[in-house]
Amino acid sequence: MANNKLTWTELRRLLASRAGVKESEANAFLSTLNEQLIEALKKDKQVKINGLGTFRLQSVAPRRSVSVSSGQEMTIEGYNKIVFTPESGVKELVINAPVAAKNADANEEINPLKKLGDQAEEIVDILADLGQAPKTEKEPKEEKPKKKIVKKKVVVKPQPVTPEPIKIEEPEPVKVEEPGPVKAEEPKPVEIATPVEPEKPAKPEQPEKPKKKYHFLRDTLICVICLLLLLLIGYFFLRNQLTSLINSIGKDKPVQTELVEPKAQQTDTLPANIEGTSNQSRTYFESDTVLKETEKETPKEIVYDNLITTEPMHEASRLTWMAKRYYGSKDYWPYLYDANKDRITNPNKITVGTPIRVPKLTAEQMDTTIESSRLTLHRLREEAEAACKK
């Protein structure tokens, strides 16, 4: 490294010979240059030298730290430091300096260019390696749209085919006919597209025609199977719903009377009761869809007999926070909403001062590993979230 350093004396001699001055003069110049530079830095905090760069005095603010040995907090005092930023021209000159220096020993100026070229090639190689993954992804994207068109053609065919097998299984033929085609049409593009896509990227690399035909056949098969599955699922889902509907119609009236009673027992205000009852009466007179909604809910309606407390809503409180406080988890907030449905229209906008009943939840209700309680919680949450949007 000794060779790689230009010392003070060398610099002095070089300067003297280049500028045509005495060495003593060069020495005087250089030392005063340094002196003045420091002085100027102290005074102005910044010195700019054309053809070289800028020296700046930068202050570092005091900061807090922890002593490594004792673990005590201590403050590191602020200080100043010199920052040198080279002029842009100088910076560029220097960027490839070591390369130039290494080559200067052997072949002066031709090699640096070659070396640069080599570096560029290496970088390109590495970038190519790194970039391979994204590139391959781009290719299949271009080919996807073609295959999607194929899918659409395929999708049209199975529609008339699918209702046949289902009709055989139907115990209630009237009701399934309506939703069957409707439900099947909606999910088709989504569900079919997903299983087929992952196979695509591999396929485009095999351009042979017979293989493609084979794939189309497989695609159509997959489509048909998916459709069948969807229809089956839809059918069973609907049947379940229908049975629950039928059950609920039978149970409706007794449940309602139950609902009103606890409300009266619990320390209620009058308007709340009126609202609750009016809501229920409304549902009966309105259209079928509303009826269905209430009928789904009513069989599982929960009666909150035991109350922990009744807490008035204050400004900074939320149902979720109350749930966290009383039940240990925010997840149970829908129960709070459910217990206070008659007072709360929108769980996000509860008027301050509204007394909130905090019901005592059974261990069963709190246990989300039990499926029924999980489902009721889910249902209540959906209700509450729907109420948020009102």
Binding site: L6, L11, A28, E39, L52, F55, N80, F84
Partner: protein, 92 residues
């Protein structure tokens, strides 16, 4: 402070003409640049050293796209002040 001011200050102190100082300064800078280009470090007595530091190549990851790119190695001009000066300036 700009170069002009520095030149006039030096001229005042050394008794040389401003022109001469300017010429000296430019040749000095030229020498520095040439030597730096040749990969040499330069020691300025009482001030510090100018040297070239090599920054190794590294891969960077784009935070949003997760894309990886290679930043090639490069050299940087670095100024390291003499410890005396460093300590002196700390306390200002």
């Amino acid at each position: 402070m700009l170069t002009k001011d520095l030149i006039s200050l030096i001229a005042e102190k050394t008794g040389l003409s401003k022109k001469k100082v300017e010429q000296l300064l430019t040749t000095n800078n030229a020498i520095l640049r040439e030597n730096l280009m040749a990969g040499k470090a330069i020691q300025m007595q009482g001030l510090g050293t100018f040297e070239i530091k090599e920054r190794k190549e590294r891969t960077i990851v784009h935070p949003r796209t997760g894309e990886r790119t290679l930043v090639p190695s490069k050299s940087q001009l670095v100024f390291r002040p003499v410890t005396n000066l460093k300590e002196e300036l700390k306390k200002i």
